[in-house]
Symmetry: C2
Subunit: 611 residues, 2 copies
């Protein structure tokens, strides 16, 4: 076990090694942008799928919708630019909402963020696999398995303590930028020379007439292009000084790149009148159209897959950090705050892996099915964070606070309206799950904190007399299955800690007790032996009844302690060959404790078998 | 839990209710024959499937093959008739082989029988479901689920303590006889009036030419018609006196009925030139041909399903009894000898259910795929039992022992030759699994007995001095996570049983220990507190090292006892909210015990949380 763990996860790291390297802008862009940049992969796909049912009339609207989303992007980017300056120590939505709006809005933001992190991982992984399966159609039916495989690799890397700030992570990001942007430029140049394509000629016939709802729907789905834009504002302390200035500039560059990639790819798709086949993403169809089927196309698809994998990885950096903060605040189990021996929040990583894997399996590895769950959480967190910033400026009343508040207010308004559009238009397709899940999570958070407070009160030493009242010598009950060396050892141990020892034999076969008593008198004449009849051949029932009765008889305010002689077999499979009576008795005491709310002390006395 | 158990399984029964009713011949036939009579359902099917690939030329051989198998049936029936007289107390193959041939052949027979019981259940269930799915083709794709459902019902009924001697079990058997035999008679009369059909006209074209191997193959598969014939010889004590005479006569009647049903149905199938469709059994095709598609046909199919279910039930009576005998002899875990509170061997029933369910799932609910595994075990047990009888007569040298030995010898020869034919012709199709499994089981039996003997020797009190040397007062180590009421209780308990108490605090964050020590001095100044540093943030490692070190320092021949203060939460889910440190420490001690071969005593001291 521990060898396997060592091999997979690596040797433990000392607490001294904690502490972060500071990032320059080039590295910081690579560290914080993968989610934001790669979201064009699924956002474009969603806009395409939302419009293609209305044929060429629908598809011709993709560029206007793309431009509207880019407008939203500008507003949100400016809002977060302000957040960076307002919260130089890192302003995640949970912190901003909790500090400025109160606990409840903070928890709503936290719930939305948790859901977002899981969905970012699931959506990025499935979209990455779709990119590579577009290039190799033989992989298309195996997308679920491939997504889970990729998930497993990323989870392991994170359990080992992968830093999202590493050079390895930067390669896919810059590879993506330096292949995608030239491809878009090349496509535009070619179109200028060859003339644009005609959607009327290539688009499939309209299955439904174009409706306003359909346009809203495509807009909602396309808004997922904005996911990840908040990442830099959470990570300001990781920048080299001057931190806020560097972070702000990096945010603006990232937003510019996002807009360029998004509008560029949508525009080129429309110009070239690209349409995708049934087992292909629209971005793959675009790349194939622009570059042909050669190695250049393959490089694009592999790069897309890699940046999406890195984007999924950002969840593995973000969620465990958030659950650790929530755990410290008492809203989630404290185990989530444990730094593992590789200095990572291993429990949070495991939690994220399980949730993401479940989503991939439940939604059959289909990005399109996951998207409706996604956008609600993202825009809820955006809106709460922007509202929080408005209150923040208002409270601080620093220089030009009114203008700053207006900017963030505009952002809140835009993202809030988008939230309503997304919630309504995607409700039936899956947004209801997120809408239901967020208040559920908030209730769970609150109940967990209530429990911790209750326990702290019960454990408090306040009011306890300073001198400990000594406990009475315990009454010991030793259930025996016969008379052998293991029992002798257990009785000797019991006698060494108390002078009130009773052995109990449950007689399964009538008459067996007599034989036991005779041998007992011979070997242990000075220890009390009680023989309990058991007409229904149960060991547990008569034993528990006996314990309860003697407790009542003594009425000394204590429960008898059970001493269990336990075999320690030399090989694990030998355990299967013995009546697991000790185990059964423990299980019965545990079960009873759930029913009656009390538990007696239990002493395990091992007896070692040599072979 | 216990309420659900009560509802499904019923209230416990007192040991006094054990004891069997004696059966008259009518009831005994119903009790012991279902497996034997119903085996025509799959034997016919196998002969048909084996021959139909050679078209009409193949199918025309089904009657001669059927007659050869009937000849074998006569020999085996006479052999078992003798066994009844030689072993009036019940002569299962295991007992006969073990007593006369030695332990090893006995264990081989036991292994073969165990496999047979499981396969009887699996084959009967899947064949029963195939019978009903032939009538209702919509059920055909759901045969696995239906077989498992039927298995579940039978398992539950047996856990409740269903007696195979009950009236309920007799109904399907006589219903089967009183519908099948008239149908065969009616078919024969109709053929005499209308004239026979022509196989050349109805049979599908030959896919392969007829070969001698194919004939041997069909013969081997058809030999499964003999399964269950040994049942009466195992159950002689259940008959009314004169037991051997009644049992012998019942065996002869049963063999006669088996032969009649087998030859009758095969002969009529050939006379009417019946051929089955792809989703139908040959017996269903025969009934449909003889009786049309009306209610009479449906009655036949339902009756077939019912008798096959009852046949599967005979495994539930037989296997738990055999595993209990093997458990008593020390060849299987002793838990298999426990009579549950409903007076049944519940562990054996559960084992059979799991194994049968696994077979049904693995072989996709397909009787035909299971048959090759089946016949080897059956004929191996037959042969060993007959050989044992030869030795039995030879040793006893009673009146006419030579003739009796010759009869059983002939039986052994015939079944032995069949065993070889079956083993060779079905080897590649699955017989190899059984051939591999039997020696594996024998090795497992022997290793289990060796272990029990070893343990008995280690536990023996022989050589122990009559006066118990008192154990020294134990050294107690109490790991603490902080200072609160739960810890106070645990320390008080520890002080009540020993004056050597050490509290241990593992310091996960540098500096935390200082704070603990200050509060400790205030509340428990007279208890020793040790603070252990933990640079890798592990609680377990430093604690285990400390325990080992102090054991070495004291060198008093004892291991320190670990006292674990344990939370007892009021609601089960609260358990998830606390660091399961007590549980982790126990797991670590258990793991270490496997590695190092020793275990210390552990004391669980509960602390109850009220809400």
């Amino acid at each position: 076990m521990s060898k396997i763990k060592y091999l997979l996860i690596g040797p433990p790291l000392s607490s001294q090694k904690l502490g972060e390297r500071r990032l320059n802008k080039i590295r910081a862009l690579a560290a914080f942008s993968p989610d934001a940049l790669s979201s064009i992969a699924y956002a474009n796909q969603e806009i395409y799928l939302g419009l293609v049912i209305a044929g060429s009339a629908g598809l011709s609207l993709s560029l206007p919708i793309g431009l509207a989303i880019t407008g939203l992007l500008v507003l949100v980017a400016l809002s977060y630019f302000q957040t960076i300056h307002g919260y130089p120590s890192g302003g995640g939505s949970y912190i901003v909402a909790r500090e400025n709006l109160g606990t409840l809005p903070g928890l709503v933001a936290a719930a939305a963020l948790l859901i977002d992190y899981v969905l970012t991982a699931a959506v990025s992984l499935t979209a990455g696999v779709a990119a590579i399966a577009s290039a190799f159609p033989v992989l298309w039916p195996h997308r679920v398995i491939l997504s889970l495989l990729l998930l497993g690799i990323i989870a392991l890397a994170n359990l080992r303590g992968l830093r999202e700030t590493g050079t390895l992570m930067a390669i896919p990001v810059y590879l993506f930028l330096f292949t995608y942007l030239p491809m878009l430029a090349y496509g535009v140049v070619r179109t200028l020379i060859e003339g644009p394509g005609s959607l009327v000629a290539t688009a499939p016939p309209a299955a439904q007439p174009l409706t306003a709802f359909m346009v809203l729907h495509a807009f909602s789905a396309g808004c997922t292009a904005l996911t990840g834009i908040e990442a830099i504002s959470n990570g300001v302390p990781a920048f080299q000084p001057p931190q806020t200035k560097n972070a702000g500039r990096t945010l603006l560059v990232m937003a510019l790149l996002m807009g360029l990639l998004f509008v560029g790819s949508i525009g080129l798709t429309q110009l070239l009148a690209v349409v995708a086949g049934p087992q292909e993403t629209i971005l793959s169809a675009l790349a194939r159209r622009a570059l042909g089927n050669g190695p250049a196309y393959l490089v694009i698809q592999i790069t897309t897959m890699l940046i999406l994998a890195v984007a999924a990885n950002t969840s593995f950096a973000g969620l465990p950090r958030l659950t650790a903060i929530l755990g410290t605040d008492g809203f989630l189990p404290r185990q989530l705050t444990n730094l593992g021996d590789r200095l990572v929040f291993a429990n949070g990583i495991s939690l994220l892996t399980i949730a993401t894997g479940a989503l991939i399996v439940l939604f059959n590895g289909d990005t399109h099915a996951l998207i409706p769950l996604f956008a609600v959480g993202v825009f809820l967190a955006f809106t709460l964070s922007q509202c929080g910033m408005v209150v923040h400026w208002q409270r601080g009343r620093g220089g030009g606070w009114r203008l700053k508040a207006i900017f963030n207010g505009l952002g809140a308004l835009a993202t809030g309206m988008t939230l309503i559009v997304v919630g309504v238009s995607k409700f039936a397709e899956g947004a209801w799950i997120t809408i239901l899940l967020i208040p559920t999570l908030v209730v769970v958070f609150l109940r967990i904190r209530a429990h911790y407070r209750e326990v702290a009160q019960q454990l408090s030493l306040r009011g306890l007399p300073p001198a400990l009242k000594p406990s009475p010598r315990p009454r010991l009950v030793v259930p025996i299955s016969g008379i052998h060396r293991g029992i002798m050892d257990a009785i000797a141990y019991a006698q060494s800690i108390s002078d009130d020892v009773t052995a109990v034999y449950v007689e399964l076969e009538p008459g067996a007790g007599q034989h036991i008593r005779e041998r007992w008198e011979q070997w242990l004449p000075d220890v009390r032996l009680v023989i309990l009849p058991s007409p229904y051949r149960s060991i547990i029932g008569p034993l528990l009844d006996f314990l309860d009765q003697t407790d009542q008889q003594h009425n000394d305010g204590q429960l008898a302690t059970v001493v269990l002689p336990e075999f320690v077999p030399a090989k694990w499979w030998h355990g299967l060959l013995h009546n697991q009576t000790a185990w059964l008795i423990k299980a019965a005491l545990l079960y009873r404790r759930r029913r009656l709310g009390y538990q007696r002390a239990i002493i395990d006395v091992p007896y070692h078998l040599r072979r």
